[in-house]
Symmetry: C2
Subunit: 404 residues, 2 copies
């Protein structure tokens, strides 16, 4: 993960010379949850006994580790064991959509302690939306009896492109007033914590993997809703690409879309065919009134044949693009999420039909194409994971330990 400006502002500097110089490195050993003695830690790391003792003190003081029983004595007082304490700090995770924001309070294992959902309008602009977000964050903290100083960080997903390194939205099409806005800086005026921002599809990919597919290092998450996008995890790492636009498959040209105008100004984009509004428009043109993806879903659930067929065809169009992605990246799991995936098997059947037909046999032999299991929680689980992976990394732990 790149080091966000928000962190640099908080005083962390990149560590020279690789990963074994600070207390944060010792902590990585303990993150697996196993309890160890000072002597064991000194032996494993090759660090001097005195160095281990100092770092254990610092990690204890920060509340990141705690004594976890005693080892068997080889004579004299039995030595203490220490282990990671995931409840010591909390994370606030917010998934901001066009019409609502879901906020969760989690521990350092990503376990959701409480959550709240609030109606917003993204078009009200960043100040109004973030003020509401901040007040709900405060409420969640106080209801849980936690203090602001226990906050390890805040993760925010936004419904548009974000420059992850600065946390600023970059030309977001449905977010008037947000372009270039310093989201971390604004939030940090009210809440003193690391603030990491990414687009909603990236954090959904992180959340789905963290909660349900932790052993799968090559995973594609596809959101099919008002827009269509992908979160790309390769080699266990979320890939943002050279300019942060990785995963933008909504505007790949699809053969069946020939001549259809997309809201991006191009013709034949996947979104112009398979997004909620596009399916609704096609249904309406065929005499079945529908305006949104929700209308299409409702029709399909009532057994409307045209709606069912349209959903399946949208699945095939998505599958058309995914077949290329599968040949290129050979993922072991494709997770389909977003509002339209709630239509259960209609969309999935279309996706599976085309991907298994068009991708290479070797690339699909063990490929699973599944519906999102995290559902509405994918975003907050991922925003929490983004923060945890960042703040528990060696250099960040050092920053946590540094005197304020």
């Amino acid at each position: 993960m790149s080091t966000p400006a928000a962190t640099l502002a908080a005083g962390t500097l990149p560590q020279p010379g690789g990963g074994f110089s600070r207390a944060g490195d010792l902590f990585q050993l303990l993150r697996d949850g196993r309890a160890r003695t000072r002597a064991e830690l000194a032996e494993i790391t090759g660090l001097a006994r005195s160095t281990v003792a100092t770092r254990i003190e610092a990690l204890m003081a920060a509340g990141l580790i705690s004594p976890a029983g005693e080892a068997v004595s080889s004579g004299g007082r039995p030595p203490s064991r220490f282990a990671f304490l995931p409840t010591s700090r909390v994370v606030l995770a917010a998934d901001v959509g066009a019409t609502h924001v879901l906020i969760a309070l989690t521990d350092l294992d990503g376990r959701v302690l409480s959550e709240s959902k609030t109606a917003i309008s993204i078009a009200d602009g960043p100040v109004q939306v973030l003020d509401l977000l901040i007040s709900h964050c405060r409420k969640l903290l106080s209801q849980a009896g936690r203090h602001e100083r226990e906050l390890a960080g805040i993760g925010i997903g936004l419904p548009g492109p974000v420059e992850h390194s600065t946390g600023r939205p970059a030309n977001p099409p449905i977010m008037p007033g947000w372009d270039g806005f310093d989201v971390p800086g604004y939030v940090q005026q009210s809440l003193a914590a690391h603030v990491l921002v990414d687009n909603d599809v990236n954090i959904m990919a992180l959340g789905e993997r963290a909660a349900y597919w932790p052993l799968d290092n090559d995973l594609l998450f596809i959101k099919v809703a008002t827009g269509i996008g992908a979160g790309v995890i390769n080699g266990g790492v979320l890939q943002r690409g050279a300019d942060g636009t990785a995963g933008d498959i909504g505007h790949v040209r699809v053969a069946r879309g020939e001549g259809m105008l997309c809201r991006c100004g191009n013709y034949g984009c996947l979104e112009a065919l398979a997004s909620g509004p596009a399916i609704a428009a096609a249904l309406s043109a065929g005499g079945v009134p529908a305006k949104t993806g929700e209308d299409v879903l409702a029709l399909a659930r009532r057994g409307n044949v045209a709606a069912v067929q349209a959903m399946r065809q949208a699945g095939r169009d998505v599958g058309d693009v995914l077949a290329t992605c599968v040949n290129l990246l050979n993922p072991s799991v494709i997770v389909i999420g977003g509002g339209l995936s709630a239509a259960g098997e209609y969309l999935m059947a279309g996706v599976r039909e085309v991907v298994y037909q068009r991708s290479l046999p070797l690339a699909t032999a063990r490929l699973r194409i599944v519906q999102s299991m995290a559902g509405d929680q994918a975003g907050v689980l991922g925003a929490s994971r983004m923060v945890i992976d960042h703040v528990l990394a060696p250099s960040s732990v050092d920053a946590l330990l540094a005197p304020a």
Copy 2:
């Protein structure tokens, strides 16, 4: 990089507890080429002085580091400085093609010390081809006055799918007799060294990046020749995917290929349109006799308009698939290599035309689409880099240092 079986066989075990426990970790600090004293290393790492001294001894004994002048004394004898010694060991890198094998001897910086090219026929099977490869490896070593014990490892690229973790070819279409053959095991019967094997396109991607684009973490290498394939580097790491088939874009279906039979048995694959034999066949059908990609190249170079047009159209077909790859992965560089890329601008023009037309503006704003600069050397440069990255990793350096 996953740990190949060849390495496990040589006695390396995965290291528990992260990266700061062994001599190999100290070495990572020195790989940057800067000379440091024992005291500096102890301070940077937090390791005990005695531990640093022992590890420096071991790395010196292995020849991986050497004294590099003296620091300024603060009284008494001035302390010695130590630095990485890239000429201490050598790497053999082999790029095996269908009709020839290129072998290079490099140092630990990937610098080519000498090379040789030999005609082979891949269809002669692994024993005959590898025996020839081994004898040429021995010749290169002895001509350079280096000994087998100075060999840090051997990297081999093969013209077909390879299970990288075992080094065995996996259903390679043009390599009769090679399927499942234990390439590392066979080579190690003659040469005692780590042996790493991958497919030719993956090592070409590694080589092109190492030699010309070291700062670009998101790079696609496309080989256009008898076959078409890609090497995918994301986040600075070569991505092999869940089953090692990542990059197999030759069998993505292209709209213009409707109804055209591919050698894989499917219809409409990119390879059935834009590979050397496919272009030659299309030219022949139009009355311009050509059998291979080389024939097409020769025609284009003589200014044959049909051949020039066919090359450019092949570029457009490749671009059609790459446009999707660009939206999905947002690379900063696409390198086009392989035999047909030698046609200079004809193929490139077609690729650029379609990629810039169809990909998102944000994703192409800083995208460079360039011809391979490593050319014929891309494979050996990459095979060498694959070995260097592996053998100089902490756990492998420990193995080098272990008593034989």
